[in-house]
């Protein structure tokens, strides 16, 4: 039990420290990297709680996909961090005061008085033959099938909303449509041979007159 406890406090401290750094870093790329650290250490906390599947998913989905995308966005967009930080110091004392009061209140409620070991004794560790993923899957697709369906609709709405807000069709751009390229037939589509009478050279007349006739 001793080593597990040590690991818990270690990862909990790393999570808190990393979360603090996310808010206080000047460089947005550093902030994102600290967020990755916070995710990894909270994944470790989940694994300590025997929620292996969730821990792995957190790393695969959030760290592996979402945060990498986020990093790209932060590096691509030149975020004016100075403007965002204006007033950070001004609001800091009031913010710290409120945050401090809230933290104490939350500790009094969530702390050992109400959620201590006497109220919630630690469950016996599950054996190695318990399959976390299987149990979760069974529960999700039986008891929670209705919420899962709603969540899928929420994802659909997110896709539609993102596309609506960003996709613009500009009539003047000169992009190449691969579908039309592929559809070109070998024969008449590529080269068209036109029969025409051979040109006979026209004797050159006065240039001013020719210009007029052109118009």
């Amino acid at each position: 039990m001793g080593f597990e406890k040590f690991l818990f406090y270690l990862f909990a401290l790393i999570t808190l420290w990393a979360a603090g750094m996310v808010v206080s870093r000047r460089n947005p790329v550093h902030a994102v990297l600290f967020l990755v650290l916070a995710f990894v250490s909270s994944a470790a906390l989940w694994i300590l709680m025997e929620a292996e599947f969730l821990g792995i998913v957190l790393i695969l989905v959030y760290v592996g996909a979402v945060m990498v995308l986020f990093l790209f966005v932060v590096m691509m967009l030149d975020v004016d961090i100075a403007a965002l930080r204006a007033g950070f110091i001004d609001y800091l004392p009031l913010g710290l005061l409120i945050a401090g009061i809230m933290a104490i209140e939350i500790f009094l409620i969530v702390g050992p008085a109400n959620f201590g070991l006497h109220a919630f004794p630690a469950p016996a560790p599950a054996g190695t033959d318990l399959n976390n993923t299987r149990e979760l899957g069974l529960l999700l697709y039986t008891v929670y099938v209705y919420p899962v369906e709603i969540a899928s609709v929420i994802l659909l709405v997110a896709i539609i909303a993102a596309i609506r807000l960003t996709l613009r069709r500009r009539p003047d751009n000169k992009y190449v449509d691969p579908a039309r390229q592929v559809r070109v037939k070998k024969g008449p589509d590529r080269i068209r041979l036109v029969k025409m009478a051979s040109e006979t050279p026209v004797p050159v007349v006065a240039p001013a007159l020719e210009k007029e006739s052109d118009e």
Binding site: N114, Y144, L165
Partner: protein, 481 residues
Amino acid sequence: MPFDAANLVPILPEIAILITASVVLIVDLYLKDQDKGLNHSLSLIGLVIAIALTGAVGGGERQIFFDGNLVRDGISDLLKGAILVVSILAFIYARPWLKDRGMLVGEFYVLGLFAVLGMLVMVSANSFLTLYLGLELQALSLYALVAFDRDSKKGAEAAMKYFVLGALGSGLLLYGISMIYGATGSIELGPVAQAVAAQGIANKVLVFGIVFLVIGIGFKFGAVPFHMWVPDIYEGAPTPAVLFLGSAPKIAAFALAIRMLVEGLPSLHADWQGMLIILAVLSMGLGNLVAIAQTNIKRMLAYSAIGHAGFIFLGLLAGSQQGYAAAMFYAIVYAVMSAGAFGILLILSRKGFDAENLEDLKGLNDRDSWYAAMMTLVMFSMAGVPPTVGFMAKLLVLESVVRIDLVWLALVAVAFSIIGAFYYLRVIKFIYFDRPAPDAPILVTSGGVRIAMTANGLALLALGLFPAALLSLCQAAFAVQ
């Protein structure tokens, strides 16, 4: 366990809306620009089918489906019907505005229908998880609708504010739910209520959780002191989006409060009653006082929405069957009034012009006397002037407060509603006693809009004269429990 197809029967209205949204999404791909009106027809057909299905599967005993995630009872039947009817009105009013601005595209209907779907899920939720997911579905669609006019800077700013504050509200709500789960070990409303009753009153964790639940509910209602987003979003968002988020979502927010507080935590009534009293008094006060100073009619209606939220809380905090029925009556009536008011603003708008200021209503009577009469009915109803239904709604919530011996609260409410009457009557003064601006053209509207607005305005009058029809439905919804 085996899946029983009979489980799908109570969610037939939701399924109808989901199918309609998906069909619109796909059909829209193949429509030419001039045929986009088909989306509108399809959406309306879907909503009408959903209303019919709500009626068909509704009625009878309270039943629970999907392992306690879904409930079908009198409350869900009535609120679903009300949400669908108000949404039909909203779609009809929005169409000409969208058409004038080249925004009559499928996405508006898809997002609107998904918002409706989220509200339907909320009103028939029987667990905190389903409630939260329904709320997120509705909120996400509404964020996108607020940002729908991509080229408008004000719209983007409003959407950003709405998104950030809405996410904050959802986060607080979720934190409260996690507390409730920690104290009771369940997220299903029935078992939570039993666990709370078994543990007795003195559980600090539960009260702590309720604080966050009430904050979340306050955010969604736009009640003071969680109202900061309301005026800015009403002003900045395109008017059809405001019409959407200012009408039916109030009904859904009412359902959120009823499911969480009344069904989930009934034995802690004394705790949340105190919090709701504070929210109610502040909302009625600030909403009605600040509305007087507004020159922008959308901002004025935003503060009026804050004031009305306070009145809905009056019925909720009474904690009696009669009070809940009164609050339900008020929420439904408010949604209809709000749809009417924003509908008139959409009618007054035309290509390149948005009716936003009180001055834009000047001389409406000379421009179109029928719409002037309808707007007058809406304003009288919002002010609570008999014989319109707004009077009945206010009377019922006040009665429920007086019945629990909170006479001072009723007096405060009456005082603020008299103050509020000023700015509603000022709108009527603009309509009837001022000349229209010289460049104001004659109002041109389609027959559908005129029929919808007529039905909307006359419904306020008819319900005011014969409130028993809707009221008995509201009372029946709560009497069963």
